[in-house]
């Protein structure tokens, strides 16, 4: 715990949180903990198994007839009842919350069901029949801009939604004059901070007033309120948006619930009853929202001693299948900060925004910072390597000097305050860099792979609501009207017994806002935090709010807590005047302390706070002349520094700028490629610290997220757009055994621009830590091209080179017919055998008999014989958490009765699709029985493909075992199976298309 010198008041003290007692005892009130009105229906969503396909037809009749189902809606209904969500660039493109005519990513909503409970709603999803015609997909942002790449939206030629270039200073001149030019190309992967509570909402529609009432664990920004009401075709005052008392984490992610608010609101309108939806985890991973992945080429003009004079940025931002509000904000959030912590006068930028067949992107902790700093700080390390300098020296030589604050960066950010060199040196001294360098020397002397990485970062907070407009040209901006500022609101109320309540529109998701506000307001009134009651629930129909309201861009401490102080301060000023008249002293002689208002010179001359505070209720006539009552005060605060982008595209994208200097020592296991973090030091200057425990909590939490992004996490897609990391067994989050305790060091340079001197602190490590760890790995291995996440297999390839292909004679997999139709889907191969106590002829007859097949194929509801060699089957299979119905078409070929047959087929269901071919051979075992051997190759795509290898393998083995057991039973004898990698999988691959051997 940070040791901050005790101050006079409560601000700066690590008081226990008021939130915790309820949360620790199971009395939290999260979205799904709240009751619903009687008659509330539950929504489930049918999602696309294809990354890119035309919807030929959706048949909802059977689903709609299921008892308990109240409504089924498709994209056509949504298009009829709503207006497209706004798109953040000028282009003839729409953005629907449910696919209209075409699906563009795996998991895109295709239909929804509302029913009496979630179980029935999900039953009904199985009964919806969707016919697709698949299209080629594109997942790589650079490939998406190629000639002839599959086009997602006609209004985005070359899949490019925006292409803007910027020039600040004289970058050409600086490059021409520079001694050296150092360049780096990086690919920042997709990931998400995945809050443990998923999206949840209840929506209701009042036809009498044409008004919607939505309770959702949305996090803001409330600029999105306007997007939702526009989509629902009502004015803002007919969309009441409320938030529950508690929210189970967000990290930006719950901004992305808004398309579902539109869907549920429409569903409630159609069904005539409230509709509730709680997203499940598989939906969340596949289709909630993601950070952007970005391909960046960054070049520096450098002097021989490592001083950078110019940067040239070329950023290609991948926003997924739709440009959803507020994108392309991820790309522009850092625009003023493209020079990082460095004094670099000349900058050129080319920013392109592309769409690909992946989940649309949105807010995620760090929001643009991880992408920028990974490129910039990797570049600084490369400069050191290429110039033969100490990387720490390169950082030092380029830092913005302490004497130059407030410092205007070349692209327009106004760095408010700091002592970057001072914080860096404090980090070096207190964090023990010298000892770490010695450890590296010792480790290397023993031949171990040990590296040290550094990263410096400026952490922006309190976003300028106008920065997103930088994506528009100055002419377009003039037409759209000016956008700027960052309105924060806070209301302080005093009730008739003089007790104090606070309300803010900050929508916390665990950051302890209620505790900090109780400290801030207690100080204003000379009370204790325990005497202040804080409410952070949000209700757009009753509360003070604005577009900037919400919990993002680390704006709470800097902006919202300050607004609360301003509101409390205004009330205190009026209370002082009331007390002054009764104490017979001037108002500035009134002191608030210990629950009393007293005369500074004579503390015995005092009034109880509650008595003075309640006067406006009980006896307004006694208020001094002209004094407004003290019942309620709402403060709106927006910093004047946050101006709109100017004609030359300068933009002060954020109000506050904290500073971070990180370094770490890591060791790479030469054999496994595993990375062990020996020591991680993170030095922060986030201005005035309001609550040391919470500041450290934000740093530790951000560090853990960043560690996951650096070492484990990636939203991975197959080349066909299949989503490959659809469970927490595949999308690996760091656990307590992977996250070390970082050494945290603080310096405090108050911000001159915020009421309390505080700056944001929640996102910085998401920006600095991935680059710092990557620099350490680069140092350990002496390699230049580092790609995240640094999973052991990737690191091992850096050490040992790419894995060699198996020699051609190694392990013949021969005999398996080639699976048809694979376009980069997850391929599986397998083979195996089973013993059955029946003659080949008997088994042959069984395999060709639909009644027998129906009885022995696990999950088969019906096998229909179309011809002697063509069967149609309907099966239900569960693989891990994904259970679904599939339709299978099976054909038999190369019949060699009773010795061998090739089965081929395709399966399709709402959870996925697949196909394959396999050959079964029947060999008499000489004892009256038969050895049934098979070999197959199959592919899967869609949701099922996102279930990881372990689950699929396990499920396939179980299903195959069941098939053989049933076959043996049916044949009248016990069976033994030989679980070689596959088994009857190939049969299943045909009938059910779950098998999965050979992995992805």
């Amino acid at each position: 715990m940070l040791d901050v010198p005790q101050q006079d008041g409560w601000i700066g003290r690590a008081v226990e949180r008021v939130e915790d007692a309820a949360l620790l005892t199971g009395r939290g009130r999260f979205m799904d903990d709240l009751g619903t009105r009687p008659g509330t229906l539950h929504m489930a969503i049918l999602r696309s198994p294809h990354a890119h396909a035309d919807i030929l037809g959706v048949d909802c009749a059977t689903a709609g007839a299921l008892p308990g189902v109240e409504a089924v809606l498709t994209g056509a209904d949504i298009a009829r009842l709503t207006t497209s969500l706004v798109v953040g660039v000028k282009a003839p493109v729409s953005c629907w919350p449910m696919a209209v005519e075409r699906v563009r990513y795996v998991g895109e909503p295709v239909a929804l069901v509302v029913a009496r409970d979630r179980y029935v709603a999900e039953d009904a999803l199985d009964l919806i029949e969707v016919r697709y015609a698949t299209r080629a997909a594109v997942v790589d942002p650079l490939a998406a801009m190629d000639d002839g790449a599959p086009l997602l939206h006609d209004g985005f030629p070359r899949n490019t939604a925006s292409d803007r270039s910027f020039r600040y200073g004289d970058p050409e001149g600086a490059f021409a004059a520079a001694a050296r030019r150092v360049s780096i190309a990086v690919h920042y992967p997709r990931n998400s901070c995945t809050p443990i509570e998923t999206y949840g909402l209840v929506a209701e529609y009042d036809p009498g007033e044409d008004a919607y009432d939505v309770l959702a664990n949305f996090q803001g920004p409330f600029s999105i309120h306007a997007v939702i009401s526009r989509a629902l075709k009502v004015p803002g005052n007919r969309l009441r948006l409320r938030t529950p008392p508690d929210s189970g984490g967000s990290f930006g992610v719950k901004q992305g619930i808004f398309p579902y608010i539109v869907l549920a609101a429409v569903a409630a309108r159609v069904a005539g009853r409230p509709v509730k939806w709680i997203e499940d985890r598989l939906e969340h991973l596949m289709a909630s929202v993601s950070a952007t992945n970005r391909a960046t080429t960054l070049t520096a003009a450098v002097s021989a001693d490592g001083r950078v004079s110019a940067l040239d940025w070329d950023q290609v931002e991948d926003c997924g299948a739709h440009l959803r509000a507020p994108e392309p904000a991820t790309l522009y959030r850092m625009h003023g900060n493209l020079t990082g912590a460095y004094d670099i006068a000349h900058v050129s930028v080319r920013n392109r925004v592309v769409v690909t067949n992946k989940c649309p992107t949105g807010l995620n902790r760090g929001f643009g910072g991880p992408q920028v700093y990974f490129a910039l700080e990797r570049l600084m390390q490369r400069i050191a390597v290429e110039l033969g300098l100490d990387p720490l020296e390169v950082i030092r030589r380029n830092l913005v000097p302490a004497a130059s604050f407030p410092y205007r960066t070349a692209p327009g950010a106004l760095l408010d305050s700091g002592d970057y060199a001072g914080t860096l040196e404090a980090g070096i001294a207190e964090g023990g860099l010298a000892a770490l360098l010695a450890r590296r020397d010792a480790a290397r002397a023993e031949g171990r792979l040990y590296g040290i990485g550094y990263a410096a970062a400026v952490e922006p907070s309190v976003s300028n609501m106008g920065y997103i407009a930088t994506v528009l040209t100055p002419a377009e901006r003039r037409k759209a009207g000016p956008k700027n500022g960052a309105q924060a609101t806070a209301t302080v109320s005093i009730d008739p017994v003089g007790s104090v309540s606070v309300h803010v529109a900050s929508v916390p998701q665990g950051q302890g806002h209620r505790t900090v506000l109780s400290q801030v307001v207690a100080d204003a009134f000379g009370l204790t935090p325990g005497e202040i009651r804080v409410n952070t629930e949000m209700d757009t129909a009753k509360d003070a709010w604005s577009i900037a309201s919400g919990n993002y861009s680390s704006r709470f401490a800097a902006a919202v807590a300050g607004a609360a102080q301003i509101a409390a301060g205004r009330l205190a000023g009026r209370l002082a005047r009331i007390a002054a008249s009764q104490l017979n002293v001037p108002p500035d002689e009134v002191v608030f302390a210990g629950g009393k208002l007293s005369a500074r010179s004579n503390p015995a001359n005092a009034l109880a706070f509650s008595r003075v505070a309640a006067l406006s209720h009980w006896s307004p006539a006694q208020l001094p002349d002209g004094l407004a009552p003290t019942i309620r005060e709402t403060a709106f605060w927006t910093p004047p520094e946050l101006t709109a982008a100017d004609e030359e595209d300068h933009i002060n994208s954020s109000l506050c700028h904290g500073f971070i200097f990180d370094y770490c020592g890591i060791e790479v296991d030469r054999d496994t490629g595993e990375i062990r973090i020996d020591r991680y030091v993170t030095a922060h200057d986030c201005g005035t610290i309001l609550h040391p425990g919470m500041v450290d909590g934000q740093i530790r939490g951000g560090f853990a997220h960043a560690l996951g992004a650096a070492l484990l996490e990636e939203y991975a897609y197959g080349p066909d757009g299949s989503f490959l990391t659809g469970t927490f067994a595949d999308y690996l989050l760091p656990t307590a055994t992977e996250v070390p305790d970082p050494v945290i060091i603080h310096t405090q340079t108050p911000s001159p621009f915020t009421p309390l001197g505080a700056k944001g602190v929640g996102e910085g490590n998401c920006m600095s830590t991935p680059a710092c760890l990557a620099n350490a790995v680069a140092d350990a291995l002496g390699v230049a091209d580092i790609r995240l996440p640094l999973v052991p297999s990737g690191v091992a390839a850096l050490i040992q080179g790419e894995e060699r292909a198996a020699p051609p004679d190694a392990k013949p997999r021969g005999g398996a017919p080639k699976a048809a139709g694979a376009k980069g889907e997850k391929l599986m191969r397998g083979e195996g055998a089973a013993q059955v106590r029946a003659a080949p002829e008997a088994i042959w007859a069984m395999l060709l008999d639909p009644k027998t097949l129906e009885a022995i194929i696990p999950g088969a509801h019906g096998v229909e014989k179309i011809s002697d060699t063509h069967f149609r089957a309907d099966v239900t299979l569960g693989i891990g958490p994904v259970k679904g119905r599939y339709r299978a078409e099976v054909t038999l070929s190369d019949l060699d009765p009773p010795r061998a047959v090739t089965l081929g087929g395709k399966v399709e269901g709402n959870l996925g699709f697949g196909g394959g071919q396999g050959r079964i051979t029947l060999t008499p075992d000489g004892r009256g029985g038969t050895e049934v051997a098979y070999v197959y190759e199959a592919f899967v795509g869609g949701k099922v493909a996102s279930i990881g290898g372990r689950l699929l393998d396990g499920a396939a083995k179980v299903i195959i075992g069941q098939f053989f057991a049933a076959l043996a039973r049916r044949a009248g004898g016990a069976a033994g199976t030989t679980p070689r990698p596959g088994l009857l999988a190939r049969l299943l691959s045909l009938f059910s298309r779950t098998p999965k051997e050979g992995g992805r």
């Binding site: 007692a21 199971g26 189970g248 656990t735």
Partner: protein
């Protein structure tokens, strides 16, 4: 266990934190849904419904159990403990809960119920764990807010406090 009909609804009765509770469930209903939406014990949270995140961890007949991987009908006649049963009184916190509050071992508090259940059982079985053992135990839980270290510290401090109390009791 009696044979259940997939279409039918079945009475399920058990004790929850020492008190008898009952309700009716389809055989497919998850224990997590039953606890939360039928019984109304919403302290147990659902984070992934595939057994990885650990938020729904409860104790069934003394065994730590993922409520999202258990069917309600499976716990007929069992004794179940949940986060609602950890505090000694409504206005007091257990030693472990109080340590969590002191160390800021929770932020959003959504994963906390499951972590408390696991640590409560663990500290009974392992009164004096070292940090590595606590981290190993916690590896069955996902927390996105805290970075885990404050949880580890809270657990170690609670362990020390609990074993000191037990020693006092033993010496008395």
């Amino acid at each position: 266990m009696p044979r259940l009909s997939a279409e039918g609804r079945h009475a399920v009765a058990f004790t929850l934190n020492g008190r008898a509770v009952d309700g009716v469930a389809e055989p497919r209903m998850l224990l997590s849904d039953f606890l939360r939406h039928v019984i109304g014990a919403t302290g147990t949270h659902v984070g992934c419904e595939h057994g990885v995140c650990g938020a729904c961890t409860v104790e069934v007949d003394g065994m730590l159990t993922r409520a999202c991987l258990t069917l309600a009908v499976q716990v007929e006649g069992s004794a179940i403990r949940t986060v609602e049963g950890l505090a000694p009184a409504p206005d007091r916190l257990s030693v472990l809960q109080a340590a969590f509050r002191r160390h800021h071992a929770l932020q959003c508090g959504f994963c906390t119920a499951g972590i408390l259940m696991s640590l409560d059982a663990f500290l009974k079985a392992t009164p004096r764990p070292d940090e590595a053992a606590v981290r190993d135990l916690l590896s069955g839980h996902l927390c996105r807010c805290t970075g885990y270290t404050p949880i580890v510290r809270a657990a170690l401090e609670a362990a020390a406090e609990l074993s000191a109390t037990q020693e006092e009791t033993a010496h008395a």
